[in-house]
Symmetry: C2
Subunit: 277 residues, 2 copies
Amino acid sequence: MTIENISSNKCFGGWHKQYQHQSRVLNCAMRFAIYLPPQASEQKVPVLYWLSGLTCTDENFMQKAGAMRIAAELGVAIVAPDTSPRGGEVADDAAYDLGQGAGFYLNATQAPWQAHYQMYDYVRDELPELIENHFPVTESRSLAGHSMGGHGALTIGLKHPDLYRSVSAFSPIVNPINCPWGQKAFTQYLGKNRDAWLAYDACELMKQASCDLPIFIDQGSSDNFLEEQLRPEALIAVAKEKEYPLILRLQEGYDHSYFFIATFIEDHLRFHASHLV
Amino acid sequence: MTIENISSNKCFGGWHKQYQHQSRVLNCAMRFAIYLPPQASEQKVPVLYWLSGLTCTDENFMQKAGAMRIAAELGVAIVAPDTSPRGGEVADDAAYDLGQGAGFYLNATQAPWQAHYQMYDYVRDELPELIENHFPVTESRSLAGHSMGGHGALTIGLKHPDLYRSVSAFSPIVNPINCPWGQKAFTQYLGKNRDAWLAYDACELMKQASCDLPIFIDQGSSDNFLEEQLRPEALIAVAKEKEYPLILRLQEGYDHSYFFIATFIEDHLRFHASHLV
C-alpha cells in the first residue's frame, strides 16, 4: 500500500495534506485529505473520520468547516475521504445524486455499479488500515459526516461499535429506505429487493442495535431537505423506543450548508474528543 | 441604488448573505457578500471590508477563512466584494493575473480596461455607500485583504486614513511597481509611464504618508510568491525609515493559501475590533 502526497499546507500549527493511492477495494485511484494536529509530531493521536455529502470530494470539509482550529487544540487528526470511486472507468450518472460523488457509503451489488462502488468496505477497512500504517495515529477512531455522509457515519457506526468510539452527524439521511435520495440510490446500487436495503438504513440498524455507541446529531430547522429527505423524527422515534443514547439538536434557522456545519463543528469535535481519550 | 438578495445562510447566530447590484462606477452587475453578526439585529455594527486575491470572488474568504465565528463574537460585520468587474461585456484576458478576477483595486486609464476596471473607486466610495444605506452598520470601517487584496487594502488605506480605522493584510503585494504581477497589471491598466504607477504602490505611499493608520501584516515564510512577488522587506525598510507603526509577522512554514489565513484571521479580527470600537 503506497500513498502519494499531492499537497501540504501548514494550518494551525499542524499540517493539512492530500494523498492519492490505488484502492484495492474500489479498484481505482482515490484521494483523501488528512489533518495532522501539532501534537502528531511528538505522539500518536486519535482520528476522526469525516464522510462528506453528495457532490463533495475530500476538499469541502477541510476547506469550509473550520474544524482544524479545534482539532489542533484537542490533538485529534481528521481524515476526509472522497465520496465515491472516481475516474473515467468508473460508472457514473448525469444526476448529482447517483454515481460519482454519490457513493452512499455502501457496497453495491448491481451492475454497472458493483465493480467500483464499495465505499462501505473502503471506509470501514481499507482507509483506516492505510491511515494507521502511514501516519502517527492510534487505533482510537470516531466517525462523523454530513447528509449522505451522516447516513454513512450512522450506518457504519451502528454496525461496528467495536471500531468507533463515537459517531456524529449534521443533517443526516437517517431513513434512506423511506426517502427519494435513498430509494433512488439503493434501487440502483442494491437492486429492487428492499430486504437488501435494511442493512444500510440507520433507523433499521438502531432498532436492532445492542450497542450504546454515543451518537450526536445536529439538524437545521430551515434545511430545504428536512421534510422530504432527512426526517430525523424517524430516528428519534426509534431511539425513544429503544432508549438509545441519542443526542439530537434542532438548530433554529440553520440550513443544509457548510455555514451550518462551521457554526457547530466545535461541539462535535469536543464530543468526539471526550470519547477518543 | 437597489440591491438584490441572492443567498442567505444563518451562520454563528448571524447571517451570511450575497447580493447583486448594478454598479455605476464599474458599469456592470456586481456581487458582494456580507456577514451580519447577531448584534446587528439590535444595533448598528462596524464593518471590516475584505479584499480578496487573484482569481477570487466574493465567496473564497467567507467560505474558507473561518472569520465569521470571531466576527459574531466581536460584533463586526464583514463585507467581501468581488475582485474585478465581471461579465461578457467586460474586457478580459486568458491569464489568471489580468482582467476578470484581477482588478488590482485601481482605476484603469488604458483601453480596453478603463471602461469597467475602476475597483479603487468602487471599494473606496460606491461599496461603503451601498452598505451603509442598506444594512445596520456604523461608519466605522476597517480594511483587510490577501495578496492582490492586501495590496488593495494597504494602498487604499494609506491614501485615505480618514476613511478607515485600521488596515491588515495577509501576504500582500507591497511593492507592485517592482514585481512581475504588478508590472504586468500596471502596464496594462495604467500604461507604460511608471509615474502613474506610484499612486498604487504601498511602499511609495508609505514613504509619503503623514498618517499613523495602524497596519498589521502576516506573511508566511514558505509562501511560493514571497521572493519574486511579495517582498515584504521593501515595506519593512520604508516603515523603519519613517518610524511608521507597522506590525509585520513572518509566520514560519506557512504558505499563500487560505489554510494560512484561517490560522491567523482571529488575530486580524481582534486587531481591527480594537480600533473599530
